[in-house]
């Protein structure tokens, strides 16, 4: 490469909009790939993440610089988290009939999902930082990331754990649930929403309308409960 080309290349790579540009482009490609194949493993966030890490390494950009140049996107994460209150409110209106079963299942199963994950990782010898990152794994990503950061974990890792949990749950959840005799669509939806959040909810929607509604409700309630109770619990124990 001749010097002027190199200079132009450097100017493009270090432009403050470079991060936003590649993120938008890669995300749309990943989304198209997912919509074309409908393959659960091709979660757009997971695929974009992998491709972007490759691009950054190839271009020799540090994560810090990428982070700074995607400020336009990350600043919107706050208002989007606030916006989660809207689906929560809309879903809450649907459950009048099954109020107590929903509430009891949510509290017990949500507690189990959180405590068991942390306890197992601790028993297998993971570090404290990893434990705190793992704790909010069953919650939708923006909440999990905020909570993980708050209790001393790593937001980026939390986002990945959340995705893996969701994809696993969505892939094998419905089959396993039917296997142990869980037939009611509300019960299937609750199980998917509590443990596998947004990905599980998408899967539950494929199973049916009622199942999807309960999954969405379980996901939003689980998110709010975790956001409020987990930091409190950690503050009390530690």
């Amino acid at each position: 490469m001749s010097p002027p080309w190199q200079a132009a290349m450097q100017a493009v790579i270090h432009h403050p909009l470079f991060g936003v540009g590649i993120t938008l482009a890669v995300y749309q490609l990943a989304l198209a790939a997912y919509e074309r194949t409908r393959w659960v493993f091709l979660q757009p966030v997971l695929v974009s993440m992998t491709v972007l890490i490759g691009v950054l390494l190839a271009a020799g950009l540090s994560y810090q610089e990428y982070r700074d140049s995607t400020f336009l996107l990350s600043v919107l994460l706050g208002p989007t988290t606030v916006a989660l209150a809207v689906p929560l409110f809309l879903n809450l209106k649907r459950i009048r009939q099954l109020f107590w079963p929903t509430l009891i299942t949510l509290l017990l199963a949500g507690l189990l999902a959180t405590v068991l994950g942390v306890a197992l990782a601790w028993a297998f010898g993971a570090e404290r930082m990893m434990l705190m990152t793992l704790a909010p794994k069953s919650v939708t990503s923006p909440i999990a990331m905020l909570v993980a950061e708050q209790i001393g974990g790593v937001a980026a890792l939390a986002a990945v754990f959340v995705l893996i949990t969701g994809v696993l749950g969505a892939i094998c959840g419905p089959e396993l649930l039917r296997g142990i005799g869980v037939r009611h669509p509300a019960a299937q939806g609750m199980a998917l929403g509590i443990t596998a959040h947004a990905v599980g909810t998408a899967r539950a929607l494929q199973e049916g309308e009622e199942s999807g509604a309960f999954a969405a409700l379980a996901m939003s309630l689980m998110g709010v409960l975790t956001a409020v109770l987990l930091p409190l619990a950690v503050a009390l124990i530690a």
């Binding site: 990350s74 208002p79 988290t81 299942t105 990782a121 069953s138 923006p142």
Partner: protein, 120 residues
């Protein structure tokens, strides 16, 4: 319309941040903002057109907004490799157990409620 809804969302987020600094240091600002907005919706009993438009628009692009923070994993590659099996085992097992428990419990509770309903 969209801008009006967006203004509300940002307003609730900023309110959450203020409360976070003033009283509730254990809850992140956006979470407090979400709880406030939820309480506001409960009081009002409905979601207004501007708010639902802005919320729907933002939530549609939520996965995109999550990409930059997720790329941060590249900084933690070493820690992931060090704890890989512990993490994979904990994620997989706890998911399996809690998923089945949640489904089973909900099914039992629904069945019981149905039986009660028949008796009374």
């Amino acid at each position: 319309m969209l801008l009006r809804g967006l203004t509300w969302l940002v307003l609730f987020q900023l309110l959450g941040t203020a409360l976070n600094v003033l009283f509730l240091s254990m809850l992140p600002g956006p979470i407090i903002g979400m709880l406030l907005l939820f309480a506001f919706l409960l009081l009002r009993g409905e979601v207004g057109e501007p708010l639902s438009e802005a919320a729907g628009g933002l939530l549609r692009y939520l996965p995109l907004l999550l990409v930059p923070p997720a790329v941060g994993v590249m900084v933690y590659a070493e820690q992931i490799v060090a704890d890989f099996w512990a993490l994979a085992g904990a994620l997989g097992l706890s998911l399996l157990v809690s998923l089945l428990f949640a489904g089973w419990l909900m099914q039992k509770l629904i069945d019981r409620q149905a039986r009660r309903g028949e008796q009374s």
